[in-house]
Symmetry: D4
Subunit: 250 residues, 8 copies
Amino acid sequence: MKYMDIDQILEAVSRQELTAAEAKALLSPKGFAEMNFACVDTDRERRCGWPEVIYGAGKTAEQIIAILERLRLSTKKNIMATRCDAEKAAAVLEKCPGTEYDPVSRIVYLRQNTEAAVGCVAVLCAGTSDLPVAEEAALTAELMGAAVERAYDVGVAGLHRLLARQELLSRAKVVVVAAGMEGALPSVVGGLTAAPLIAVPTSIGYGASFQGLSALLAMLNSCASGMSVVNIDNGFGAGYLAAVINAQSK
Amino acid sequence: MKYMDIDQILEAVSRQELTAAEAKALLSPKGFAEMNFACVDTDRERRCGWPEVIYGAGKTAEQIIAILERLRLSTKKNIMATRCDAEKAAAVLEKCPGTEYDPVSRIVYLRQNTEAAVGCVAVLCAGTSDLPVAEEAALTAELMGAAVERAYDVGVAGLHRLLARQELLSRAKVVVVAAGMEGALPSVVGGLTAAPLIAVPTSIGYGASFQGLSALLAMLNSCASGMSVVNIDNGFGAGYLAAVINAQSK
Amino acid sequence: MKYMDIDQILEAVSRQELTAAEAKALLSPKGFAEMNFACVDTDRERRCGWPEVIYGAGKTAEQIIAILERLRLSTKKNIMATRCDAEKAAAVLEKCPGTEYDPVSRIVYLRQNTEAAVGCVAVLCAGTSDLPVAEEAALTAELMGAAVERAYDVGVAGLHRLLARQELLSRAKVVVVAAGMEGALPSVVGGLTAAPLIAVPTSIGYGASFQGLSALLAMLNSCASGMSVVNIDNGFGAGYLAAVINAQSK
Amino acid sequence: MKYMDIDQILEAVSRQELTAAEAKALLSPKGFAEMNFACVDTDRERRCGWPEVIYGAGKTAEQIIAILERLRLSTKKNIMATRCDAEKAAAVLEKCPGTEYDPVSRIVYLRQNTEAAVGCVAVLCAGTSDLPVAEEAALTAELMGAAVERAYDVGVAGLHRLLARQELLSRAKVVVVAAGMEGALPSVVGGLTAAPLIAVPTSIGYGASFQGLSALLAMLNSCASGMSVVNIDNGFGAGYLAAVINAQSK
Amino acid sequence: MKYMDIDQILEAVSRQELTAAEAKALLSPKGFAEMNFACVDTDRERRCGWPEVIYGAGKTAEQIIAILERLRLSTKKNIMATRCDAEKAAAVLEKCPGTEYDPVSRIVYLRQNTEAAVGCVAVLCAGTSDLPVAEEAALTAELMGAAVERAYDVGVAGLHRLLARQELLSRAKVVVVAAGMEGALPSVVGGLTAAPLIAVPTSIGYGASFQGLSALLAMLNSCASGMSVVNIDNGFGAGYLAAVINAQSK
Amino acid sequence: MKYMDIDQILEAVSRQELTAAEAKALLSPKGFAEMNFACVDTDRERRCGWPEVIYGAGKTAEQIIAILERLRLSTKKNIMATRCDAEKAAAVLEKCPGTEYDPVSRIVYLRQNTEAAVGCVAVLCAGTSDLPVAEEAALTAELMGAAVERAYDVGVAGLHRLLARQELLSRAKVVVVAAGMEGALPSVVGGLTAAPLIAVPTSIGYGASFQGLSALLAMLNSCASGMSVVNIDNGFGAGYLAAVINAQSK
Amino acid sequence: MKYMDIDQILEAVSRQELTAAEAKALLSPKGFAEMNFACVDTDRERRCGWPEVIYGAGKTAEQIIAILERLRLSTKKNIMATRCDAEKAAAVLEKCPGTEYDPVSRIVYLRQNTEAAVGCVAVLCAGTSDLPVAEEAALTAELMGAAVERAYDVGVAGLHRLLARQELLSRAKVVVVAAGMEGALPSVVGGLTAAPLIAVPTSIGYGASFQGLSALLAMLNSCASGMSVVNIDNGFGAGYLAAVINAQSK
Amino acid sequence: MKYMDIDQILEAVSRQELTAAEAKALLSPKGFAEMNFACVDTDRERRCGWPEVIYGAGKTAEQIIAILERLRLSTKKNIMATRCDAEKAAAVLEKCPGTEYDPVSRIVYLRQNTEAAVGCVAVLCAGTSDLPVAEEAALTAELMGAAVERAYDVGVAGLHRLLARQELLSRAKVVVVAAGMEGALPSVVGGLTAAPLIAVPTSIGYGASFQGLSALLAMLNSCASGMSVVNIDNGFGAGYLAAVINAQSK
């Protein structure tokens, strides 16, 4: 079943293609749809501009499928489930027609939106190992309508690799920078751009990196202005915020 | 001495009002001005859209004055020195004509820009004690050209106080939320707005708040999307980023 | 063998169905029953109102069975073993007639009490992933005689889901709230109820959630009054305390 | 000005003793009273059973006075301001007729309620140094209507001192236990009582006590059932919750 | 090959049963025996009263065997290798005649000493799960010549179980107490005995126990006198020190 | 008033020098003496071999005086109050005849015991800055009857200073080692002595010493056997335990 | 394909053995070579004296092979990939002619340099378990041209084992010391040598070693002068720095 | 009294200008000079190449003076006492002829060495606030014979300030980099130099900088090679090590 707006729902009722109970569930007058394991926020898009995104990590494939199918009824935007491993993703793709899976960013998604990408979100990462987090940011922003440009493995130990991307940095509406270990890249990028910068610490490193704590603290204490930070490995959060800023930019 | 653009500088040289050495210092061909205790980044505005902001905490009044006077030569934007206590501020105000001081946010500033404020930055805080941090954000954003609206003491223990500000949340181009203790307010606000949200943990609290760590962790782990975090008590950083996003919004 | 009170024990001795040694062990004059790996506190119910609950995590199935069978002799209350995985549970169910297992809360239990549930314990959780902890609280309270009502997936990012439960919050004798990530839900619930509130941080989250530390600190620093906190993922502890408060409420 | 109920307010309007604007402020139709530094939650008592308690730590004497005077208009319950040092307290007592100050617990309060104390809240502490925290709990509970009994300096290094209070522990409706250093007392008390137990870690100790962290962790990990924990040094929170549980006990 | 004293070595040389090189290695004039992966301290017994104990955790079975065989040449005391899993132990037992293995404490040992046990070391633990650590302490002390008495599962939630062991506590030369979770037992025992007390925090617990940190901090901050602490789960260290104190006691 | 044994008390009653109430208080049948701020454990010496030692840090001079005077009635051993600053000490010395003060260790004491010191407790420290902690250990042990020998400023950066004390290390019944910074000295001493070793981390250091945490962790993880650890700066605890071990040594 | 200098490249172009595009890639005018997953810093050797070393931990065998082959074109120095497990190493050795693998240090390397080793780098470790980290340092230094001498298992609990290496310590140009647990060895070595000392904390230990944190803090707080520290288990970093210092020593 | 070599001492004895006891103290046959509060390591220079440096923080002016005067007898090198506040310094300068004080680095020193400075130690810092730590490093290195060049306030937010110092970075024998906040500068410098790099984290920052922890972790996790780290604010340690490396460089 596909998304119906209120007119379509009422028409379907009058054509007896929907029962009154089914229609009421779709109209979701309380703003949420109760399942026995979840309470889907069908009002989110109205308040926040984007429907719920499914956090796949703590859920079974069955739960993801049920929520995804319920969201499909309520929105015409692209639908995402993040942090899905390959096995869960396969189960969802089998049951939910039209869904796709990106194994690097581990996002399952349903493209419903065909509008052209707008603006410019630059996504940078310091090293090859930060790539999955950077891709989670990049794909999230793309699915939310942003034009994304990537510059990977441009860490501070070889500054010329970064300086070669100055044109991108001056053109971007918003910049996302993922880095692990000492987390120094966002500070350096912050001194080279006028765009808002979202820093993503990654858990790459060992020993005193303490699973990303080192990079997180570094980014929170950055001497560069115009920058803020999301949780360790939270590529999704950075991509989402980047898309929001990008969408409202001139 | 006031700001001069390159034409004015060259003209002053030709009129012999400036020596060649003085002119070279003003033109700052290397992009910085060296003092024996500092290396002022006169190229910052070109790269990042805004001149250096003076971090007053680790500097003497004499150092702040010297840097402020040097910046005055290089920019027509408002100039700020953050984290100035009353004593330092008095010394600066005495020596630097035109500077003002706000004792709540502890910012010394020189207004040079008279353009009308644009957009809408909403600054919220959870309790009365978070007010200095919220004001640092608000005044910073104002000095950078943003129209700011405040909503203070709207913490989650009395939700109706926040729900009464829904109109503001739907109108804002960007929302700044300061909170200490459990740091829950940004998560709740994040579910009520479509604007980008910048969360500022404050050091308000005691015991297991660990000087703001509790609020910081809470904000980093927020279940709300479209939100990022700055350092504990970093009202300046939040206000700066808010002003950047606000300025580039439609 | 079933529970016998002192009269029944003495009668069994006189009928020579029990030896003197067996009777002495049952009467447990020192208040505990020694096994080579445990020292079962048979006096607990007299002092604390409820018999020992078996913490299954660090014990073998054989140890759990032996303690459970010994407790059966000493109490007519329901008996519980918490944190039992499916394998241990199967072994216990096979050897201990009448025991049951709930795989979500991972509790093995023996229902001996048939009195009607009393009062009202409300158990809330923020997200689907917090469900096992919430269920551990709910089932524990039920086994201790409380009437329990659940409201799951009512996190703060969609406040209307919570506000729809106001009637429950005003009727409850005690409220249990489980949440991971930023742990904001208890603070919000605390502002909506007059009942005592027990907050349970869960280990749900990643990165800077530090396995539940973020939620724990948030709850300890809550600005809401009338609330206290148990250990991370300690649904049992919350359910136990809720049942005690509920039982003594008017 | 004293508390007036809705009838008294309307009558005062009709007698022209109150203007319409004053009456509207008192009726507080939005449920809060806005000041430029605070947003007093006048609806708290209806929702939570008790009016706002003023957290004095981050406020000036002037702010405390203003909020206290506003609360006086809205409630007939006792009003409290916690964490007031002697200087602030003196300023409040001078300006607010009827207020009193307890220098041990550092609470400023206005007694408006003359009903007899009910129930039994037992407040214990481990050592002489924990006394201020224990007294904050005790006085809070008393001001909220509870009969309180104290047993101080009964730490675990001399168990007989605690065992001599068994009668109190069996009679109490709720037990509050404050302890610093290793925080062992609540675990021992928890094994001796059937009442709900609220543990308060104190910051007493040195070295590896880390300002109360040691006691906090110990209490969160207690092997005793029926117990929960509040923030370090949060005597107020423990006393408040104890009063709530006590008030609804049979 | 068995232990030989200097006379036996020289005699063997004269009988040409040992080459000069072999004899020199046995006499170990520098006080250590070099292997390519280890430098066995053959002088330890002279300085510290006891030969090296092999820490098995970071070593291969082959390395353990080689060191054990070398130690056998240098000492007539019992030889131990701690933290050996079952697989390593099997390999050692196969290659080293006379060695035995205790799977609870995970110690491989070679009994060479047949003197009667002396003194009295009391080893207590709080719960069944602490048993492996307590046994590591107990067996270590026994192998070093101490008479050991055990009292297990005597945690503070049921004090009578501990109070029933007062006679043992007054008779012991030294007391070892292992406990996890809140680590309260040593403080209580410390108030009941005049003997030196060695506290061993265990990693038993979950959530805010942080793998034994909670118990460790509690023990370091104990209000009881005459007590000290070893590393988390370090039953060996506690047993070794207990044996040393016990051996020199009157 | 001085200590009286039971015969002397009864005789004083019969001579009407004591009232029945005074005598009962002295006999302390419950094992403790209640004051309104403390509950002095008069039974401690019987159970633990030594009377209560007053922890002066959290107490007023008046409280210390009152407890000290009460202890004087119950014991003939030396009485100590630790962690007394100079001001408190002066007040106590004025009111309590016979008391003395050592400003380095900050102990106030009353010498009542004139027996000769026995055994040998070696107290070492790594640097000059560790001296106050080492002296607290040394004086405590002396007041409890031990013969103490000191070796100060023998840190590992100049090993020959330590190696010059080998004779003392082989003669000592117990060794106390205080060190801050990296806390390496106990490990080295542990390899040079057969005596039980008590390590005391001190808070000397800066930066990543984290007020003694560095030394504490180092000592807990020592590769040397026969060693245990007390809290940071807890010279008293080390001296007390050393005296107990020393007293029961052959 | 092997390394070619600029003359050889141009000649190859003129002989049409290389296309212009291939030649340009080899000349790498921007100083880096872009792959879709990496941005190899071909200019590193010019700036830093040594080409990029591949950090194998976060990379697939395919990625390692590609980078290694690209580096081979740009340098005549030895090439290394650190932190390669056996499986990855086998894949690399199969595809990259001339590469070798050391399973202890887990380094894959390509020897291209045949100059004689110079200077003297002493590599020490405290225990057998620290050997892999020490070997990573030793092999790294050797591959960078240093003559390396090893002294393993010379921990502080048996000082004579270390004192026997005094000659090496006085001859070394730089000393690397790896140690886990309490991390005391570098402080002791620092007092015995005039050479620069690089301390490497290892993650060997348990409980309060917190995966090497204990050793790390100890080394950072060392009282010995002339010493600095690298990350936990970072044998590579220590070996690299040692080689650099050694190479520029007289 | 000035330094005398062994010939001068013996001559002085023969001239009866020195008693035998005085001569023996000067010759210091055990390698240390005992005072009642210190044990001065007079053998340090022979072993480590440089005499003891006095750590002034935990010592009284009297102690510093006594040690300094004793060192003067044993060495012809410059003598330093670090971390001396102005008051202590004044007392030392008054009593010790020839000593000088630098208030920025807080070092008291006695110049005895008049050889020309050699080599090149580059000392960089990120911001004006890091200056005292950088100066401690610089002055230490100078007093130990190094030629030092400074480049201050060259933080990463304005890279061109750093890139303008490339010539210095390529000429330096060793580079010291001090930075607080996010500690990113050493990583960037590490990619621009072939010299050994010593990173010094400073405690500059606030909130999540945790007194330098953020910078410390960043530096330990640096992706740059050829770099190591000293304790937070340990300018002395960095300067000392830099001087040692510089002195042995070609």
